[in-house]
Subunit: 342 residues, 4 copies
């Protein structure tokens, strides 16, 4: 059994970005986990030179990734904070070394390789894809517990699926014509500089992007189909909001099955009654600040003018990425689901 | 004829808030208009003590409002930047003095007093209401030219109506089931301090409010009905975005009449071909920064996954309030529509 | 000995503000401390209604403060996040109950009642004042360990003293003519709404305030005098910076004692060699983001053009208030100084 | 005489950055100036594709720079918004064409080529340097009026010199030991993306940079020496503040000549009595928001604890660059100094 005496031994691959940073910060607080190796393809060197805020908290050095170097770490788990395509070029080797894997990228999220290839690129690890489990703990905890390869969900899909799935499964909204209008803080765009995310271009600015063409749209549809047994059609429009972190989905759907506002709320409450990180709200409207720096998802529903409206908020870097991965880790290694996550 | 030699003489009532401030700044640049009196119910004194940025540009002093004091100004036009209910308590006197009036409040926007009273309070000036013209110049310029009382539109309705009206009138979207998901900068909440708009509560935060219950919703429906001859049903959900100014509507509607993306764009282009302040975009997606500090509205449309999506952006304080009022003034007094507005 | 089995029993008084909120969040993570009572004078009710982000993490309810109610908690420690003057009206009763006390306010920081009264108001607890220990752990850990009443330092003094004290004590800067030019995020202004901190007034704005007249100035001078045995004269000018949290002091002093940049850095390094929360920087210039959400103070020094320049950064709510108090608590109760503080 | 009938014909070189954008926006409002040519070395094409906010206001197209292309414009004035070194490679040709020139770069600001070369690079246009006039209109209007080549000042020097010069010249502060602690909005860093100005790195962050090593420091010293006849020593430390625009200098100096707060204020008032764009403040402390989007400089002085403190604020892109250039243009071409500048 893992504990502070015998912690989970983790190699983290990809420490340069924001999700790598958050993973390191939160694992530092985790009593039964230890990062024993840190690897990357660039920014080789002490991690506190890449992220000066980590100074004094860690002595980790990012080293060039190679399966050999990972092998020497004698680890239990590999966490991959690397881009898609890179991830699936590493995972087979890591699994061959006997490591369990949690992957932040999109490479193992879409069960159907053809759908993956339509939105991303040719898939090079069909065996991994066949074994992968979608890491949304509120719905797939049983499979995650035994998984060797967990595909950590996208930030937008996490937020949207937690909002929609229970109501769709309960038949309280129509599967057709679901609009997901979403906003994200700018950390969601990653850490590579670009004119679009240059401070004076992005500050005091709000704009839609990738209108109904974002790669997280098929991910939402696939998982919602799995969870509801229906064929949902989602129109997904993300927007960039001038703040560091936070994500909010405003979802519009058509009611079904005699939906009332009371039934909507009760259905959400029932779905998340024993889930520590989803807070079903009634009076408080979800807002990004209430979930910032936490692993919580806040969700509520309204019915007015013949429309079901669902609002959900998460921290895009945490429940949308890094702490959700730790939640998955806890489940995979038999720890309390919420260990180290407050 | 009005000119820099014989400017329009204006009394401005309500200089303490953000719309009052912007009106004063922009009128300063206007070659054929002059503020000859400034009145308010509080913050009596030099206006540059209330708004220190105006120092060196104006010597105006805000004086206690009374019809007598206004009468002595020998003005042509009264501009009212005061709250609803206050506005309709002033307007009859101002009109009795022979002044033409532009009113920023909601008091004269809803043609049907019963609808007004359902959303606001008892209406005390039915005569004014009967005479009032809705001041959206792109659609009502003819009536505005001869109007004695112009109801300057709400910020959200301005943005949403400019986006929706041409497509609804052309039969390219269904009147039922129109979702207006909107965001606004915080100046839209006015200048009175509150916990909700306290900097650390609002900064780095994004949240919906007044879900399908905002007073601008019936205003949108009324004007869209007038312009299209249909009975549109609008679900309107505003959100607060952590920035000073800017407004963006993301609108979702069902296609009709053989709508294609090309037809949608062409219809918008035709509607605004000779309108100086609506820019129909194709490649550029509307963003609030492109319209900040301007009187422009940017708009574009997309069709994907069976849904029409329309995006429109304005500066909530300018095209959504103060420069739109100046645009109305230009039309009322026979000046070039865009005078003083760049 | 305190531990997770026998935690320190804490009553927190004043949970409504930002420091109360942060204290609750961080104590939640602390393995050897437990909040057993929460009291206030307003906002009575479940704390997660006052701070919705706390929902799901705590069941605490803020109750009306009274010594009797506190007595029933059978607590070891009282933490006071209340304004000055209120604090000294509570502390005698709390001490009479046998509780040790950490006070966030200014009431017990200035050892000389006459100085206190010059800057604040009449002092009503001279006995407490005589017993109080100034809670800057890097310099007063020995006294803190045995203290019954700890005056948690002001945010600006924490930052400035950590920067200046070692260099002043070492004779590397002149005690006369020390300029502390400081900035703070807006949480430093508290949670009461005001026009000055209304979002659109404060956003995209930067301004000095209380020029050489802020109450933290005598606090700096007193503690620096104690630590150096000199009579420093500090000119302190704070500024408001449009961000939530973070504090940075840019300090200008005249060199003495053959100061070189190397000596300055070495002196800081020696002073903080075994202090877990002060990071002496060389290449990295302190910036607020590197210390945000941490208990760290980053500090460095430069010498150019005949001037010593010292730069220090903290999180105003954490090392400047709430986590510093927890650091003090750890020392008072014999725990590891950094327990629960990463 | 220039007027709206016979406007000044301007070629603008360098339209891609923020100062180019602001110049185009403000010249659009100017009744006696017209941009007849727009040139650059990159971003060739319609300027409203580079700056979408300009759409509908201008039909200008940025063309590849060449002296021949400029010659065909039959212009009166060349405005250069290009980096240093590039500027001095263009200016001789432009002057040979008979154009008067206003240059935004540093190439003609430092009268002594040796000083220039110490801070920048070898100087290639000594003839230009000999003819150039420093374009700070409050002090050099007479020379500017007749100048063929005006070096538009740096943003920090504009702000600092306007604050310091009158007091230094009047002998009310010591020339030695002047500390200029300054902050700037991020547009001051230009429009080229970098990790340092990537939104999530810069937002909610405040940090010093180029400590006592910024190139604007010798510029301040040179101009202050010219204006005062003294040899001032300035320690200049700039900081980056998370906002778009605005600059504030907090200046610390030692009093001289029997300085009192009253004398300091009176001296500033006398210096700027007939200067339209410097506002000497008494009760209002300068703040960046009061000068944002204006050509104003706000300034005030305090004396406390034996220190003179001067605070000055400008908009770094306007009085610190683009509108100051237009103010210079007005003076060069015999127009009213403040034409088109409100």
């Amino acid at each position: 059994m893992y504990s502070s005496e015998k912690p989970i031994r983790i190699v983290l691959i990809g420490g340069s970005g924001y999700t790598g940073l958050e993973t390191l910060r939160w694992l530092e607080r985790h009593e039964a986990a230890e990062v024993v190796g840190l690897f990357g393809s660039s920014n080789i060197g002490p991690i506190d030179e890449i992220h000066p805020m980590l100074s004094g908290q860690t002595n980790l050095t990012q080293q060039p990734y190679s399966p050999q170097a990972v092998a020497e770490c004698n680890a239990d788990l590999a966490m991959l904070c690397v881009p898609h395509k890179v991830a699936m070029s590493y995972v087979p080797d890591l699994r061959a070394l006997g490591l369990r894997v949690i992957d932040w990228s999109a490479d193992y999220r879409l069960a159907d390789a053809a759908v993956y290839e339509q939105w991303y690129c040719p898939h090079t690890d069909p065996a991994g894809l066949a074994d992968a489990v979608y890491g949304l703990p509120e719905f797939f905890a049983d499979k995650i517990a035994g998984a060797n390869l967990v595909a950590n969900p996208g930030c937008y899909p996490t937020c949207a699926i937690l909002a929609i799935a229970p109501l769709l499964a309960a038949g309280l909204i129509e599967p057709a014509d679901i609009v997901v209008n979403a906003i994200s803080g700018i950390t969601g765009a990653g850490r590579s500089p670009s004119l679009a995310q240059h401070f004076p271009e992005r500050n005091e600015n709000f704009e839609p992007y990738k209108i109904a063409s974002h790669r997280h749209m098929p991910e939402m549809e696939q998982v919602l189909a799995t969870l509801s047994g229906k064929e949902p059609a989602v129109v997904f429009v993300p927007h960039l909001c001038p703040m560091d972190r936070g994500m909010l989905c405003s979802i519009y759907a058509n009611p079904a099955g005699g939906a009332t506002e009371e039934k909507l709320i009760e259905t959400l409450q029932a779905a998340y009654a024993d889930k520590p990180f989803v807070r079903v709200r009634t009076d408080v409207i979800p807002a990004t600040k209430y979930v910032a720096d936490t692993n919580f998802c806040d969700v509520t529903a309204r019915l007015a003018k013949g429309k079901v409206m669902i609002f959900a908020a998460i921290d895009n870097l945490l429940k949308g990425a890094s702490t959700q991965a730790i939640q998955n880790m806890n489940i995979m290694f038999g720890l309390k689901e919420d260990m180290g996550l407050y």
